[in-house]
């Protein structure tokens, strides 16, 4: 009886989470084998086997899109990590207005994608009316077409601006957890600050760097809003990643089967990364002892 009451506590959570995440995803896998175009009811619904996947893997843009997904994530992650580390080191000192500086760095993380996209695209990087355009006019150079010619870089700039704060949050917390005495005694022993950084601080932050990289990876893989608001995946396929492609196929082609196939590929890619993550989590279980 007691056991029953106990399991009632987790039951609602398990049910709704399982339905929304797992069952719907199983449905996605099923739909990826179906041919069904919503706006063409005359074609009907039929079983398509692996035709959707064959179509996807013979379409040349698919490789571009997968490549984009990986390169956007990898580049942003590396930049976020470097910048996050630098900011954390700078903020982990005693100086006036430290709290305020901290808040300045954090703000972008809590802003919505739509707003970030809008202010970067219009106010800052617009080639004729933005700050960037103004600067190039002043210096008599040709204005840079950020969201056209350099769309890929612009997307990365925005992602890095939005996500570096998250890296700062976690790395800074780690730095603050390092015992002062260890650092001080190393200094007394004559270790320079660069040696202290590489031999004491970075090893002590191993756990934080792992956590923040994994979480950052998972969040940045699914970037969608910034692309939707600024480049719409363009020009061409230059900034289309897998989530955006799923959106495009389901909203413009209304092809349920193809959209589901792209979504399944996206999850497969994420899963490979999760495998790496899983090993890491396993190690933490022993440490945690819930």
């Amino acid at each position: 009886m007691k056991q029953k009451v106990d399991s009632l506590l987790t039951l609602p959570a398990v049910i709704i989470v399982a339905v929304v995440t797992q069952i719907l995803f199983l449905a996605t896998i099923f739909l990826s084998f179906v041919k069904w175009i919503v706006i063409r009811p005359d074609l009907g619904k039929s079983f398509a086997g692996i035709k959707n996947y064959v179509w996807i893997f013979t379409a040349p843009e698919t490789y571009r899109i997968i490549g984009n997904t990986i390169s956007i994530t990898a580049l942003s992650l590396i930049l976020c990590l470097i910048l996050g580390f630098c900011f954390s080191l700078l903020l982990n000192r005693r100086f006036p207005l430290r709290k305020l500086c901290n808040i300045c760095i954090l703000i972008p993380f809590f802003m919505m994608d739509a707003v970030i996209g809008i202010i970067w695209k219009t106010l800052l990087l617009h080639p004729s009316f933005g700050i960037a355009g103004y600067i190039s006019q002043m210096s008599n150079s040709v204005p840079i077409d950020f969201f056209g010619q350099h769309a890929f870089i612009s997307i990365i700039i925005m992602i890095v601006w939005q996500w570096t704060p998250f890296f700062v949050l976690i790395i800074l917390a780690g730095l603050q957890g390092i015992d002062h005495e260890i650092v001080e005694s190393a200094m007394i022993d004559g270790a320079g600050s660069i040696r202290i950084l590489f031999q004491i601080k970075i090893p002590a932050l191993r756990y934080h760097i792992q956590v923040v990289t994994m979480l950052g990876l998972i969040f940045i893989l699914k970037v969608f809003g910034l692309i939707y608001v600024t480049t719409r995946g363009g020009p061409g396929f230059a900034t289309t990643n897998l989530p955006y492609q799923v959106f495009k196929i389901s909203n413009y082609k209304w092809d349920i089967g193809q959209a589901a196939s792209y979504a399944t590929i996206m999850v497969a890619m994420t899963l490979i990364i999760i495998m790496f993550m899983f090993n890491f989590i396993q190690k933490q279980i022993k440490r945690l002892e819930i």
């Binding site: 954090l106 994608d113 106010l123 103004y134 389901s250 999850v267 989590i281």
Partner: protein, 275 residues
């Protein structure tokens, strides 16, 4: 002596550099906020100060259709967060204090659902909602959000519950305190700040959610992010008004986010780090 002064100069140089970098980082936000107080005609050419202060932009955006979007956002977010708490807190309670054989498995199952990209469930979610007439309704979005963000609550709150010494609960149990009372009289007061911070963070995530909102709503249940995205194409170059709306929409999540940043660190690093 010279070394010490050298060090002092070096230190203030680094502090100065920190200030510059922080100003650069926050500049887009600053520029957006000041633009929202400018007269539309003076937005271009860009200037870093306000020449002619006006609140007119705010007055204009507030008597337009923005209210229905604010209502949608507030209702959807608040109801979703409350439901997440109602479902997530008991689950976290059982994971930490219940007599489960292997609570870690359930805990990591919840966390693992967070790895699923939203686009992985979009197509069936769309079909089911179309079939149940839930497309473009608040109920539809709320159901999805609860399913997706409950694990976040469990993930974070679990690490705050673990800080509560189990001896207190055992003592309460011996004194004949019921589970229900133990939760409201002991656990909740002790982890109040953690729970509130987790709720605020969930609020921020749902408030900013874009993917499902843009795919599954059209006119009636549009939240603020969707409205913002369409505003850019509809209103053309009214950048002062654009900035005013942007400022309004980020105000709440930024304040909530800053309040709850410590909980974010502690919760997401599984309690290994005190933020």
């Amino acid at each position: 002596m010279i070394r010490i002064t050298n060090k002092k100069v070096g230190n203030s140089m680094i502090t100065f550099l920190t200030y510059i970098l922080c100003l650069v980082w926050v500049f887009p936000v600053y520029y957006m906020v000041i633009t929202s107080f400018k007269v539309e005609e003076s937005v271009i050419p860009p200037s870093l100060v306000i020449h002619e202060f006006t609140l007119n932009n705010y007055a204009i955006i507030f008597d337009k259709s923005i209210f229905s979007h604010i209502t949608n956002s507030v209702l959807i977010t608040v109801i979703s967060v409350l439901l997440c708490l109602a479902i997530g807190l008991p689950a976290a309670y059982r994971i930490v204090f219940g007599k489960m054989k292997n609570p870690a498995n359930l805990y990591f199952w919840f966390i693992s659902t967070q790895l699923l990209p939203p686009c992985a469930v979009l197509v069936p979610a769309f079909l089911i909602m179309r079939w149940m007439n839930l497309l473009d309704t608040r109920t539809g979005l709320i159901l999805l959000y609860v399913g997706i963000h409950t694990p976040l609550i469990i993930w974070m709150v679990t690490s705050f519950f673990k800080d509560i010494p189990i001896e207190i609960l055992e003592a309460a149990d011996i004194d004949g305190c019921s589970k229900w009372n133990a939760f409201f009289k002991i656990i909740f007061p002790l982890s109040k700040m953690g729970i509130i911070s987790s709720a605020l963070l969930t609020f921020v995530f749902i408030w900013n959610e874009f993917f499902f909102a843009v795919n599954l709503t059209a006119i009636k249940a549009n939240t603020l992010p969707v409205y913002m995205a369409s505003f850019m194409t509809q209103e053309g170059l009214f950048w002062a008004k654009l900035s005013a709306i942007s400022t309004v929409t980020i105000l709440i999540p930024v304040v909530f986010g800053i309040i709850s940043q410590k909980a974010l660190v502690e919760g997401l690093t599984m309690g290994a780090v005190k933020g």
